[in-house]
């Protein structure tokens, strides 16, 4: 792939290997946000003037774009701030209606804190219990344990599509089929997979799917909740305020139809416009091409890292562009500090997945994650910086 030149930030000398934290933005996305503010800025669903209508059209056509991209209906798409907000929305709205004392919610040991903490808050409030699908030593979800746990009939199974720490790709379609056989609803956190995998929500048949825009080359501050229409229509509001109402009286209000019922207040219109442009960009480059490119890079990098004796790699070859490792007896932060001196941006720490770190038996890892703008040259630079780190740490 030869797309690096489309990313203004990457014209500097940084070697950006942290796309799992946030992706860099192509110029077309940056321009679309700028252009919205310069030519179309007005509040949506309000102004009785052409400019307001233009902004509303842009916002709603962005929604249609997102819906088409993941195979959803337009009214099944709610714009939120990020994946975290989307999960909190489901936990607070659907959760408080459907999860009662003694009920169970099934999660996995691979989850990001954003798919753990909202469920803990709900469980604590209503007296429900959280169960976890364990991982095997390769960092894959234990399918036998999943089959046992799902028979306990939790109210919901919430699972990440791709692990943000190990890159593990979970077979969500199979999980969902088995969950549905047991009458369990499924929420998929697709934050890491949407930028690199073609997702069709009707095909995998998930009940809820969430993702954040900024990891998919869109702006920060915009994310998406997909929920099956019959579920969404029966959910009470999450946040109250303007835009989400039909009529407001002094003591009570009636609420708007979906998806507006879940979009209180002025939304991030420029963010939605930018996200829609990012989706256009992804489709133009080809999801298959991006996936293939990242797969090759991951394979190349894992091979190089494996050759280095001082490195301990985590996770398996079943991987979507994310690699976690440690160098000798050094803490990940020390390693990242030396890599930073060589202009290499990697993430070091617990990656918002402390339960997974405990399972791996380490406080932190160094994480390298790829985007379509990375090349083998970046991997080679990483490897020579690791040589430098070995020298600094006398390894």
């Amino acid at each position: 792939m030869n797309v690096k030149k489309e990313f203004p930030l990457l014209k500097s000398k940084v070697v950006y290997l942290d796309s799992a934290a946030t992706a860099q933005k192509p110029k077309v996305v940056i321009d679309s946000v700028k252009s919205f503010y310069e030519t179309s800025n007005a509040n949506v669903h309000r102004g009785m003037y052409d400019l307001g209508e233009k902004a509303t059209d842009l916002y709603e056509s962005s929604r249609t774009n997102v819906a088409n991209f993941i195979g959803a209906g337009t009214t099944e798409i709610v714009f939120v701030k990020n994946a975290t907000e989307a999960i909190n929305l489901v936990a607070n709205s659907w959760g408080f209606v459907n999860v009662k004392k003694g009920d169970k919610i099934l999660l996995t040991e691979l989850e990001h804190h954003s798919n753990i903490v909202p469920w803990q808050l709900l469980a604590k409030c209503v007296g429900a219990k959280l169960l976890y699908v364990p991982i095997t030593k390769d960092g894959e979800l234990d399918k036998k344990e999943f089959s046992k746990l799902i028979k306990q009939k939790p109210k919901l199974f919430a699972v990440t599509h791709v692990s943000n720490v190990l890159g593990t790709i979970n077979p969500v379609k199979k999980f969902i089929a088995e969950a549905h056989k047991n009458k369990v609803l499924v929420l998929v956190d697709a934050s890491q997979s949407v930028p690199r995998t073609k997702i069709d929500v009707k095909n995998i048949n998930c009940d809820f799917l969430v993702f954040t825009g900024h990891k998919a080359f869109g702006p920060m501050g915009v994310g998406v909740l997909y929920a099956k229409k019959d579920l969404l229509e029966n959910m009470p509001p999450f946040l109250g305020g303007g835009s989400m109402i039909k009529q407001v009286h002094l003591q009570e209000s009636t609420f708007a139809d979906v998806p507006a019922r879940f979009e209180a207040g002025t939304p991030n219109v420029a963010g939605a416009v930018g996200l829609a442009k990012a989706i256009d960009w992804l489709q133009e480059k080809g999801m298959g091409n991006i996936q293939q490119h990242e797969k090759e890079l991951t394979k190349y990098a894992r091979k190089k890292l494996k050759e280095e004796k001082a490195i301990k790699l985590y996770g398996s070859e079943n991987n979507a562009g994310v690699i976690s490792f440690n160098l000798g007896d050094m803490h990940a932060h020390d390693v990242a500090a030396v890599l930073n001196e060589e202009n290499i941006c990697v993430r070091a720490g617990h990656h918002c997945a402390m339960p997974l770190m405990n399972k791996l038996g380490v406080p932190a890892t160094v994480r390298v994650s790829f985007g379509p703008y990375n090349s083998k040259d970046d991997v080679d630079k990483l490897m020579s910086a690791i040589q430098r780190a070995k020298k600094v740490f006398r390894l």
Binding site: H331, H333, A337, V338, P363, R388, V392, F393
Partner: protein
């Protein structure tokens, strides 16, 4: 720059930490976590005749935070608790003698922050109970 930061002595204290462990009945005990990176330090100590008689640290984190905490425990052992309470961060950084700045300052000073916390609490409790 990195060579000066990760000089031999720092790596030695990281790999062979002095005073690492726990005390059975510490009079002084405090712990803290660096929010931005997750490094943790716990300090446990006992006082005898106004002096810090035993001191241990435990925790996990980067080489800078762990070695700095270890060096600090060696430095304060046997010194008057009241004087330790008056230590300032410049003195601690001088003790470490490494070029830390920016984000890494928090790492280098985490152990000092915890020690100070423990001593203030301890002295406060002592004064409170005697009055």
């Amino acid at each position: 720059m990195m060579e000066q930061l990760y000089q031999e002595v720092i790596l030695d204290y990281y790999r062979n930490p002095r005073n690492k462990g726990h005390l059975d009945n510490p009079q002084i005990k405090a712990c803290d976590v660096n929010d931005s990176c997750g490094d943790e330090i716990t300090i446990e100590a006992t006082e005898k005749n106004g002096k810090m008689s035993e001191i241990k640290f435990s925790g996990q984190g980067c080489a800078i935070s762990q070695s700095a905490a270890s060096m600090l425990t060696e430095y304060v052992q046997g010194k008057s608790v009241e004087n330790i309470a008056k230590l300032n961060k410049e003195e601690v950084l001088k003790l470490l003698n490494i070029p830390v700045s920016g984000m890494r300052l928090k790492c280098a000073l985490l152990g000092f922050k915890v020690l100070k916390l423990g001593i203030i609490e301890y002295l406060g409790g002592k004064n409170g109970s005697s009055s």
